[in-house]
């Protein structure tokens, strides 16, 4: 299997599907001539031309709406949000139109739309450019929401997203665009609604998604070394549909869980995770599910503050120890 970066995997999936399917096109700010702010689409305008790689004015609501119109007539637009932080401006179109028009048209239309872009923080972009949107979009029926973290998943899930006849909110781990991993060749999609067991373990389940999965993997190593604890790491990966079974199965085995999220505590994915676990694995739980979340502040700029605003190894490791009634370190 070839190694490639998250960025390359993403581009490969889009470019390959564009080759296969003429109805796939790209839209967004500076994705063409400029090459893409994060260079995800670099070179594609030369390959596919400006009718299929459309540079738009700064108008997130308007061009997302236009993409929905295109999708309703059978095209498959992939819209880049330069960052998901700008998507509040498109949230009305995504939620009020894309997610619902199939329903309120009595099933007369489909909206095969992908909206993609970097999500989450970690590069000092401060308050207005740092958000984790999974719970916001994940709340709404009619949308599918995914959050891949490995290069292999980002390729496979992008293929699935493009082929899905429904609107897909595709949340990329922006801070990881440059990270490498093995990516299978071919046009195989990774299905939505299946969590990934990123590491097997027996004593406690660390449940997360996005770049926090990597954090959890580091914590798992540390717990193994420092405490002889075997942690299982679950990469939720698909936010809506959410794979409750894999989560519940893991906890039935480990009896303990820590849910980790970069986003804020209230109404987040970790709350949902805890809520599902207590509902479906109540009798298996040996300790409350502990949530580790971002600090309850808008994202700060200064490096040290930003680091402190997001979950860190020590917090997660200590949360795991608490579920095991071990001493914190």
């Amino acid at each position: 299997m070839p190694e490639m970066t998250y960025r390359q995997a993403l581009k490969t999936a889009m470019a390959e599907e564009m080759e296969r399917d003429e109805s796939v096109l790209l839209m967004g700010e500076d994705i063409g001539v400029y090459g893409g702010t994060h260079l995800i689409t670099d070179g594609l305008i030369d390959r596919f031309g400006p009718k299929r790689v459309i540079d738009t004015p700064i108008a997130e609501g308007g061009f997302t709406g236009a993409a929905i119109g295109m999708a309703m007539l059978g095209l498959k637009p992939i819209v880049e949000m330069m960052t998901w932080s700008f998507s509040f401006l498109a949230s009305d179109q995504i939620i009020q139109t894309a997610a619902k028009v199939r329903y309120f048209s009595g099933g007369q239309v489909e909206v095969p739309l992908v909206v993609r872009g970097p999500n989450g923080g970690g590069v000092q972009l401060s308050a207005q450019h740092t958000h984790s949107m999974e719970n916001l979009y994940g709340h709404f029926p009619g949308l599918k929401v995914v959050s891949p973290v490995t290069p292999a998943d980002v390729k496979g899930m992008m293929l699935t997203a493009i082929r899905d006849p429904n609107p897909v909110v595709f949340l990329e781990a922006g801070a990881l665009y440059g990270t490498k991993g093995e990516v299978p060749d071919g046009d195989g999609g990774v299905p939505f609604g299946k969590a990934r067991v990123a590491r097997e373990g027996t004593d406690v389940s660390l449940i997360s998604y996005g770049r926090q999965v990597n954090l959890c993997l580091r914590v798992a190593d540390r717990l193994e070394e420092e405490d002889g604890v075997s942690a299982e790491v679950i990469d939720v990966r698909s936010i809506r549909p959410l794979d409750e079974d894999t989560i519940v199965e893991s906890v039935k085995k480990t009896h303990r869980a820590v849910a980790v999220q970069e986003q804020w505590r209230l109404f987040g994915v970790a709350s949902e995770t805890a809520s599902i676990i207590q509902e479906k694995a109540f009798d298996y739980l040996d300790a409350p599910v502990i949530r580790v979340s971002g600090a309850e502040v808008p994202a700060p700029y200064a490096r040290n503050l930003e680091v402190a605003a997001f979950p860190n190894e020590q917090q997660v490791a200590n949360a795991a120890r608490r579920t095991l009634y071990m001493e914190e370190k």
Binding site: G62, G69, R102
Partner: protein, 357 residues
């Protein structure tokens, strides 16, 4: 003065087959009589559903088109198969004029399973995709970008279809108008946006008159800011509307560039359900505009020209009313949607519903 302006429409420009076909009393009286019947039909429909609303048989929000009939009637006369139509929530006449079954429309308003969108959308969300009607939307201005994107798609697929995007005066204040029309102008430079904007200026957005929403009240000139050429028409005069409709539609079809027409009109009834007081305008103003009722004006002209007589007018009214009783009866007698319908159409494909029932 749009940057890329060619000439202002109306001052010359190619005259096409279709255009010459635009009806006037002189050239095609019979067709005008047909259109008169359609206008009466959509008027009587609106009266019928208004009664349904008063009786509590129609719920939610409902907005009728009374006073504005000449606009949709005129522009949809220029509809060709494959074109797409999109509008906001004041959408009954558009879908009816496209030939949808009035029973299915009325049943939708009544919230029945036989409704055109299975009782799921109601008055604001009519759809008949087979007939080119891409919906009825409830967020003011939210459908305008959709219309623009559809126009792009039609050229991307190398067809010569166009989109008619209807919008209200009130919708011009919202960001969507600006963002979408700007995109249309931009894409139009490459012939990639055959979108005809039809501004139904009924002079109010709910209770707010145009001069209370903007300091620049010559509304259609707002399209200048996007390089989208435009003109105005008397929206009460069907013949005038027909002329511009055919000419504008063909122009858009040929050039792939957007074009905008402002049709000045007046809604002679309340905005919608919750508008009981109408404190924002006077009885006098309403009455003044009732005298320019588009159906009345046309009727007068047809009578004057001997294309109709008083008996024929009576008969058309009576026939229409009779049809409408059947339509209403159908709606009343239809069943509510089966509860199972709650869970369908959420997603296309395999996972139609995700959740517990």
């Amino acid at each position: 003065m749009p940057a890329e302006s060619e000439e202002r429409a109306g001052d010359g420009g190619v005259e096409t087959q279709e255009q010459r076909g635009a009806s006037s009393v002189a050239t095609n009286g019979d067709h005008l009589v047909e259109l008169y019947k359609e206008m009466v039909f959509i008027r009587v429909f609106e009266e019928a559903c208004s009664r349904g609303f008063k009786k509590g048989k129609v719920g939610g929000y409902m907005h009728v088109y009374i006073g504005q009939e000449a606009i949709a009637t005129g522009f949809l006369d220029a509809y060709r198969e494959g074109d797409r139509i999109i509008t906001a929530y004041r959408d009954h006449p558009h879908v009816l004029l496209l030939g949808s079954d009035p029973k299915a429309v009325m049943a939708e308003l009544y919230g029945k399973g036989t409704g055109m969108v299975k009782g799921k959308g109601g008055s604001m969300h009519l759809f008949d995709v087979e007939k080119g009607f891409m919906g009825g939307y409830g967020i003011v201005g939210g459908h305008i970008p959709l219309g623009v994107g559809m126009a792009y798609a039609l050229r991307y697929e190398e067809t010569d279809h166009i989109v008619q995007t209807y919008l209200g005066d009130g919708s011009m204040s919202i960001g969507y108008f600006h963002e979408a029309v700007n995109l249309a102008g931009l894409w139009g430079k490459d012939g990639m946006c055959p979108c005809l904007f039809i501004l139904e200026n009924n002079q109010y957005g709910m209770g707010t008159s145009v001069e209370r929403t903007t300091a620049m009240t010559d509304l259609v000139r707002k399209f200048d800011a996007y390089g989208v050429e435009n003109e105005k028409v008397d929206g009460m005069d069907l013949e005038a509307v027909l002329e511009v409709a055919h000419r504008a539609a063909e122009r858009v079809r040929e050039t792939g560039k957007p074009y905008a027409v402002e049709a000045l009109t007046y809604r002679t009834v309340p905005h919608g359900a919750a508008d009981f007081l109408e404190k924002y305008r006077t009885k006098d103003e309403i009455n003044k505009w009732r005298k320019r009722d588009p159906i009345g004006l046309l009727e007068h002209k047809l009578l004057e020209n001997g294309l109709l007589d008083q008996d024929a007018v009576e008969e058309i009214r009576n026939e229409t009313k009779q049809t409408m009783s059947e339509v209403t009866r159908f709606a009343e007698e239809s069943d509510e949607p089966p509860l199972e319908e709650l869970y369908t159409d959420v997603y296309a494909g395999e996972d139609e519903y995700m959740g517990e029932k």
